[in-house]
């Protein structure tokens, strides 16, 4: 899932200040799950903006909507119907969703209410951790289901960097275990799980974002 964090209320208030009529749109998928862009977060933002506008000259109006997935145009038809009545859209979707809306609604600003962060999974209640950078060439079968590209800050594919502390925590993020320690400990737990002895050759980064903007072909067979 895509994980994001809401912009601060102060930033959102400042961002939306020029617009008297504001359409606030949440997203019912990933950002609802990570409690960043769902109905609750949209309502909180709407209330905060309204409070900030109290006493300011001029009328102020908001409408709150939740779209199941902002990145799917077919699910945004209701949004298109009402958008023309507003001065700006404040989106609590991820950047993919926001840009999808921006493609559909061309006449008013689309404002980000969220900082999109990473592709990740749930660790525990309200905590998420990055798991994938979308390198385009998954080799999780060779590393026991642990992505060394993503989970090692230095993308060390052949050995640890040696910077972990005495408690085996990552040099860069002391809150987490060095992923090479995790990988070493898990070896052998699962049959055919991966090999620490295999020399991993330099990666082909052209399959990742480093190779340019990626797009799936219209025909999967082409």
């Amino acid at each position: 899932m895509i994980v994001g964090k809401p912009k601060s209320i102060e930033d959102i208030i400042e961002l939306t200040r020029p617009y008297p009529r504001l359409l606030i749109v949440g997203c019912g998928s990933c950002l609802t799950v990570c409690r960043t862009g769902g109905g609750r977060e949209v309502s909180i933002a709407a209330r905060a903006i309204s409070l900030a506008r109290q006493g300011m000259p001029g009328a102020f109006e908001t409408l709150e909507m939740i779209v199941q997935r902002q990145c799917e145009p077919e699910l945004c038809e209701d949004l298109l119907v009402v958008a023309s009545q507003y001065d700006a859209v404040l989106s609590f979707g991820c950047a993919a969703g926001m840009q999808s809306i921006a493609d559909m609604i061309r006449t008013i600003p689309i404002l980000p209410g969220v900082d999109t962060q990473f592709m990740g999974r749930i660790v525990d209640h309200d905590r998420f951790i990055e798991q994938c950078i979308g390198c385009g060439e998954c080799t999780l079968d060779r590393t026991d289901g642990i992505c060394l590209i993503t989970r090692c800050p230095k993308a060390q594919q052949n050995e640890p960097c040696g910077g972990s502390d005495s408690a085996d925590h990552c040099e860069v993020n002391p809150d987490i275990e060095c992923v090479w320690i995790t990988f070493s400990r898990r070896l052998g737990e699962r049959s055919g799980s991966g090999s620490i002895s295999e020399v991993v050759d330099p990666k082909d980064w052209s399959q990742s974002h480093a190779g340019g903007l990626r797009m799936t072909p219209a025909d999967p067979e082409s």
């Binding site: 230095k154 052949n158 040696g162 040099e171 090479w180 020399v199 991993v200 330099p202």
Partner: protein
């Protein structure tokens, strides 16, 4: 480096300015040991290690050029090697480099295109097969030595042979350890890698935290190590 003499290596941090005089000041005389030039140490810009190496060579030194994987991709690493060899550099020491978020320019984007072992592979192909990483030909000769770091103080000793073997596979010429603070642990690490075929041929330099560090005589006389590497800068 094919010698039984106890070798001393001293790390030199290039100046954070464009002054060769600052670089050359307070150095031990040529021949005192090997000088290892760090590469943007502390994730902070400094005089490029290649430029610093060039100044040292002109003043009679035979430097080791460190290359970090943080700041450059494979294109630039291969370029650095070509340039450095053209200037007379014979030794390279590869390291990941500390993560930029641990330094004063944490907003910078890192590279980490290739890790040190992958860098070793590419450099080995350059000198043995005379090809770049895309297998296009390199004309002329390219002779140099490549070292990598080992980390005896950290991690599971059972895993160490696997990592050491990967370095031997791509013909590492010498090994430098991280600073050693526990010589019993160093001995245990050395025992752990002893079973790796060919390990006895590779000179291993014991990292020490600074120039005041010392190695117990029993370790020095063991015959397992070629010398020391003082990680605190001499400048």
């Amino acid at each position: 480096m094919g010698t039984r003499t106890w070798i001393e290596m001293y790390e030199v941090h290039p100046p954070r300015n464009a002054s060769p005089e600052v670089l050359l000041r307070d150095l031990p005389p040529p021949g005192f040991g090997f000088l290892s030039i760090s590469d943007n140490p502390g994730a902070m810009p400094a005089m490029s290690a290649t430029a610093a190496a060039s100044h040292l060579i002109r003043n009679g030194y035979d430097p080791i050029l460190m290359i970090n994987c943080r700041d450059r991709n494979r294109i630039d690493i291969q370029s650095v090697v070509l340039g450095a060899v053209s200037l007379g550099v014979r030794f390279f020491l590869i390291q990941p480099g500390i993560h930029q978020t641990l330094g004063p320019m944490r907003e910078a984007k890192n590279v980490y295109d290739i890790d040190p072992i992958q860098t070793l592979k590419i450099l080995n192909d350059m000198r043995r097969k005379r090809v770049f990483s895309n297998y296009s030909r390199i004309s002329g000769t390219l002779d140099f030595f490549v070292g990598l770091f080992e980390h005896p103080m950290r991690g599971d000793l059972e895993m160490k042979p696997f990592f050491f073997r990967k370095k031997l596979w791509h013909e590492v010429d010498f090994i430098v350890t991280d600073p050693i603070i526990d010589f019993d642990r160093l001995t245990a690490w050395r025992s752990a890698i002893a079973g790796v075929e060919g390990s006895e041929r590779i000179p291993i330099f014991i990292g020490l935290p600074d120039v005041h560090g010392s190695v117990p005589e029993t370790i020095r006389q063991s015959g397992h190590y070629a010398g020391v590497y003082y990680t605190g800068s001499v400048t």
